[in-house]
């Protein structure tokens, strides 16, 4: 990592306290530099959303956080939450999966954006509304001045998600955390919105944490990727290294099971079993029951992240013994 990170997460642990204690995320560390896009990839239940919310200070009651979240050097874990509140909207912003959860149904989109502007900057109503319209225009909403007078329910799903991105970015934050911002949308709309977010990030120079379950989305847009499984780090590093030459069997299996564009066989290399869930983790490496490379020692100890190559980390006991092409672990023989 060059220079000091904008966001540093170190030894993060998130624990559900009811009905009994269950760790949802354990020993998680990652960093995001200014202007960088980090994709956090994992399957449902891997702990992506609770991690995103811990970064933002938006965890629901009943979840306990420990470890460190530092933003621009300032510790955000512990304390009263005042440190987080001082950052919201100004320096860090949130784009959730469900746009309607952050848009009010009773105010026009323009008014909501203008309010966001005025809550941060001391500008008049008219100037705020002008900035709101400009923000809608930037995210590619056609005829923004007229559209600003519409209510959220009058927007399509894709336009609503653009409006939420406009809202999150209207005050030029340093960091945007987007939790599956396009998962509920049509793939063609999805692609347009992610392209827009990526282009917008380039222009505005903000850092983005993009939570997704889709490796291809990470490949297309992120600088670095963090792969999670069962609440832990599996692999992380520059996106091209991790996806081109994954070292952790789980990452390799995810990539291998995607349909390749020039494949000849009708069969896909497939993983066995189903994702492990918090509260019912197998002993040792949580991936061991599904891992074609697992040995006895894998079920005894949890692997820690090991730096395999400049900034490319993998959590696997057998990192040095696996075949160079880790995808071969999952190759399917058959028609």
């Amino acid at each position: 990592m060059s220079g000091r990170a904008l966001l540093e997460v170190e030894g993060l642990r998130i624990t559900a306290t009811r009905p009994h204690e269950v760790d949802l995320v354990r020993d998680l560390s990652f960093a995001v530099a200014a202007g960088e896009m980090l994709a956090v990839v994992g399957e449902s239940g891997a702990g992506k959303s609770v991690t995103a919310r811990a970064v933002l200070g938006l965890l629901p009651a009943g979840l306990r956080v420990s470890g460190h979240v530092r933003f621009d050097g300032r510790e955000l874990v512990g304390g009263t939450g005042a440190a987080h509140r001082a950052l919201w909207g100004r320096r860090m912003a949130f784009v959730p999966q469900d746009a309607l959860s952050v848009l009010s149904p009773v105010h026009t989109v323009g008014d909501q954006l203008a309010l966001a502007v005025r809550s941060v900057r001391g500008v008049g109503r008219k100037a705020a509304l002008e900035q709101a319209v400009a923000a809608l225009d930037r995210v590619g909403i056609p005829d923004a001045a007229r559209r600003a007078r519409a209510y959220p329910h009058e927007f399509s799903g894709g336009m609503r998600q653009r409006a939420v991105i406009a809202m999150a970015t209207v005050n030029d934050p340093d960091l945007v955390v987007a939790d599956e911002p396009t998962t509920a949308l049509d793939p063609t709309v999805q692609a347009r919105i992610l392209d827009m977010l990526a282009a917008f990030r380039e222009q505005a120079g903000m850092a983005v944490v993009l939570v997704t379950h889709d490796l291809a989305v990470a490949a297309a847009h992120a600088d670095r990727v963090l792969v999670m499984y069962a609440g832990r780090h599996v692999e992380s590093g520059p996106v091209h290294r991790v996806l081109r030459a994954p070292r952790a069997p789980y990452t390799a299996g995810l990539i291998a099971s995607l349909p390749a564009r020039h494949a000849v066989s009708r069969y896909l290399p497939a993983m066995s079993g189903a994702p492990a869930t918090a509260g019912a983790l197998p002993p040792g490496c949580a991936f061991a029951p599904r891992c074609p490379a697992a040995t006895d020692s894998c079920t005894r100890h949890e692997p820690e992240p090991v730096e395999w190559h400049d900034g490319h980390w993998a959590s696997c006991h057998r990192i040095a013994e696996l075949p160079r092409r880790t995808a071969d672990l999952f190759e399917r023989t058959g028609t």
């Binding site: 379950h213 990539i255 349909p259 564009r261 993983m271 189903a274 028609t335």
Partner: protein, 264 residues
């Protein structure tokens, strides 16, 4: 050439206006395609292009406004209620939402036995063995038979749904986005199951999907839908590798290319 198993010609599906001032929706506008026995034909297209509406007509869940649907040599649009019941067994659906399509209080055994009971084909002596056989067919451990849907993973639920469909001994499966709600690491296994079932049982499949890369993998032929019409169709690999219609190209480009990143 023998007649195709399914032949859809000039199909029209229109939904009536829901409120005054809103016009009726022409969801399917004269679509034609065929599916041969043992063949997989994919319908692709963006949201709202008419894929599920076409499926509903093929499944005889909605009477089309126009056109003809011939299945196994019979015209479905004019057949009477009794004939329909007999034909329905031959065309079975698998839907997107694995949990939502199972009844929450019914154990796996009963869920799989239900079609047999409803169709009057349940025999108390051989029935349990038939259920076990169906679970084997979808690669589910027989021990899941006693479990309830909430005790199953998404992929297991989807396999139970497939076992239910197979209980009717269909000739055609209608798969409406059957893996899009599943976790990425279990998708490939379910997709392979469809291919295996086709190889083992000679099932024909109408496969509805957003993902052209996946379609290229599993389908023999593909029809690209746009606003209720077929804008391009042909062998899946040809359409995906050398699309001729702008709309197909846009669909292809919305699936982020992965191959250039990997070593394959």
């Amino acid at each position: 050439m023998t007649a195709p198993l399914l032949e859809v010609r000039d199909l029209v599906v229109r939904y009536p206006a829901r409120a005054r001032r809103t016009p009726p929706v022409l969801a399917v506008d004269r679509i034609s395609f065929t599916v041969a026995a043992g063949e997989t034909v994919a319908l692709v297209g963006e949201s709202g292009s008419g894929k599920s509406s076409t499926a509903a007509a093929v499944l005889m869940l909605r009477k089309p406004e126009g056109g003809s649907v011939r299945f196994d040599g019979r015209e479905l649009t004019t057949v009477d209620e009794r004939g329909l019941r007999a034909l329905r067994r031959g065309v079975q659906p698998v839907f997107q939402d694995p949990h939502g399509s199972l009844s929450p209080r019914k154990a796996v055994f009963d869920a799989v036995a239900e079609p047999l009971r409803v169709q009057g084909r349940w025999d108390p002596t051989t029935g349990p063995a038939r259920v076990a056989e169906l679970l084997d067919l979808v690669r589910l451990d027989r021990s899941v038979a006693r479990r309830l849907p909430h005790e199953l993973s998404g992929g297991q639920c989807q396999r139970v749904g497939i076992a239910r469909a197979l209980a009717s001994e269909p000739k055609l499966l209608v798969l409406d986005e059957p893996v899009s709600a599943l976790d990425p690491s279990v998708r490939a296994g379910v997709i392979n199951l469809f291919t295996e079932l086709q190889d083992e049982l000679g099932l024909a499949q109408l496969f509805i999907c957003h993902d052209l890369a996946l379609v290229r993998h599993v389908a023999h032929r593909v029809a690209v839908l746009h606003r209720g019409r077929v804008v391009e169709s042909g062998p899946a690999r040809q359409v995906c590798d050398a699309p001729t219609h702008d709309h197909t190209r846009e669909l292809l480009s919305s699936v982020p290319a992965f191959d250039h990143l990997t070593e394959r």
